[in-house]
Symmetry: C3
Subunit: 268 residues, 3 copies
């Protein structure tokens, strides 16, 4: 397998993106989020702005029941302590039984051996989609060195082969995000350009993007395109936000505003 | 018991609202918050903006001591895992001993049986006020079906009889919030109109409203009117925020700004 | 020891402040944050805006590994439950072994005996810097009464003798923040004036300032000046934010914007 040349990438058409955004707002899927403790608020706000209904149900005793009624599930391993891991595993097992799509966000893969073992346990449960930055995807594909803490030290393009390999082996959809985003099932790869690097200065933009993927998966059976739609929504919202403000505090609000405006615009 | 007709609702006068806001800012009550892990930051910021002093003291070993010095207590069951439930019960027992008013926010009542059992345990401890959306109030009064996750699928008016019944049986004040808010002790019901639905796209506006109730309870012995003042403050702030911005990211900041401006304005 | 008179205070020169901000942005230190559950998001956003790389690695099983690669460590005792305390102690022991600077934020010291015992355990581990408000510093120096919850009821100047005494005894750098900030090693004291009281209406401005200290400590061996640089950055950002908005919701975003603009400006 060699790196696909630029012109072999598939695209998500504006019409298809529009239709997926409309479906999101119209169906308002219930997204069950088991995410890290730093980004819970922005994750909920991003999901609400984009038209979905988020719920952070986290107690081991109630995740089974809730996973059964949710339309999509997010597992984010940013702060993986034992009780939360237990809740996550129960939720995933239920999701696999009910065939509910779920997204794995392997935060900081490749940095700490203990965490990598936890990530491997969830990979074995066969996520519908894995969404990570280049360092994370390289690490879980066994080809990387790990980033600096939670930040990537590799370009998204450099992780493309790893992403495609990982997608075939799992099998699942892999999304690697960065300056350009790549969404692949191992044979077809969609490229999404644009966005703005200012988003990396706001904590939780990546984590909440994984939650958006869970939302889009709930409204369309084409998992490759549904995942790409989440990436495209984030990129378009970043551009819109940066056109309004050039500093990260106000960018955070402008990004959420833009998610709302784009998806509501598609629904009309 | 039949539904009260519109013209039988009591009102909170602008003068009384003004006096209650002034008392809040002047007395700056210490509000002890045991709330869910998603909304802790916005809850603290809402309480600070409105003129109170919030504190999230959560370790089982220290809640007793802190509950003793707080002027109001919030119990929000959004993410009820065992350790936090233990801390909540200790805090409530202390509050009941010291006659400190406390508010129960029964998040997502009616959705998960395990959670409903936890909510029942707190209802038995006799909250001063219960604040929920229509689906939640209908559920704990034994008349509903539960909402979609944490969101209501019923109108606040449809939960009015349930709220009045619940208020008499507990007994306590019940506030059901939605397009219009109703605050009732079972015989007198105050209606508060206005606000803006954009607030439902910002996570924690409802949860932090329950915290505001705990603040107002701390500064006035009339629990019915104190609860209604919190509802009116939120409604007026939502209107002010929407007059400035029409998207949820910036609405969040504008809402907090408005809480500050309204209460500070009353204090002058 | 008598209170130092005003004109005996040292100053941090604008040139030195500028150089420290430039070092922060250029070196982008990895700051390991073990902080309270209320302020994790704003702490991460403040660190990102100022040019550092934050990471909230909190599971007891992985803090050792992560503390070994971090350049600075924050220990904030705002919500000190047993599991998190265990993780904090492991991280501090590693930091002391690797000689990584660490900051202790003794939130609400002097209010609850159980918490004061926990704070004492961390004081015994010899923090590089202690950052607190006047009530907190007075309390841990054994000279105070405690504040109202997490808010100070004393002026920063009133805690100056206590801060100097504490700095000599530990020994460490002590920063007491308030209307004016004082940073002392027990003999030399730097005073930083300015800022704006609106910052006290935004939860986490103090807590994230302690995190900024950990970032500056990572880029300069002069711990006294590095600590003072964090205070000055916060003061200048507060002033800039208040020149743009006079209400706390939008102040929060404007403050983060200003941190970014000031440090990026210094890096150019």
């Amino acid at each position: 397998m060699t790196v696909t040349s630029q012109n072999q990438f598939a695209k998500l058409s504006p019409e298809r993106f529009h239709a997926l955004c409309r479906a999101l707002v119209t169906q308002r899927p219930l997204v069950h989020c088991l995410t890290n403790e730093v980004v819970q608020e922005i994750t909920a706000n991003v999901l609400l702005a984009a038209g979905t209904s988020p719920a952070m149900v986290v107690a081991p005793d109630e995740v089974d029941d809730f996973a059964r009624i949710a339309s999509g599930l997010l597992i984010n391993l940013g702060t993986p302590y034992p009780d939360r891991l237990e809740a996550m595993k129960r939720a995933v097992k239920t999701a696999n039984t009910t065939q509910t799509p779920w997204v794995l966000d392997p935060v900081a893969a490749g940095v700490i051996p203990w965490r990598d073992e936890r990530i491997d346990e969830f990979l074995a449960l066969k996520p519908t989609v894995i969404r990570g930055n280049a360092s994370e995807i390289l690490a879980i594909a066994g080809m990387g060195q790990g980033g600096q803490g939670v930040d990537s030290t590799d370009s998204s393009f450099s992780a493309l082969v790893a992403a495609q390999e990982l997608a075939r082996q799992t099998p699942c959809i892999v999304a690697v995000t960065g300056e350009k985003d790549y969404v692949t099932d191992g044979s077809t790869t969609i490229e999404i350009a644009g966005g703005h690097i200012m988003a990396t200065l706001v904590v939780g933009t990546g984590c909440s993007l994984s939650a958006l993927v869970a939302g889009f998966l709930a409204v369309d059976a084409n998992t490759l395109e549904a995942t790409a739609a989440a990436m495209m929504l984030a990129k378009r919202a970043e551009e819109k936000a940066f056109s309004r403000t050039q500093a990260p505090g106000s960018f955070r609000a402008a990004y959420i505003d833009a998610l709302y405006e784009i998806t509501q615009g598609a629904a009309q």
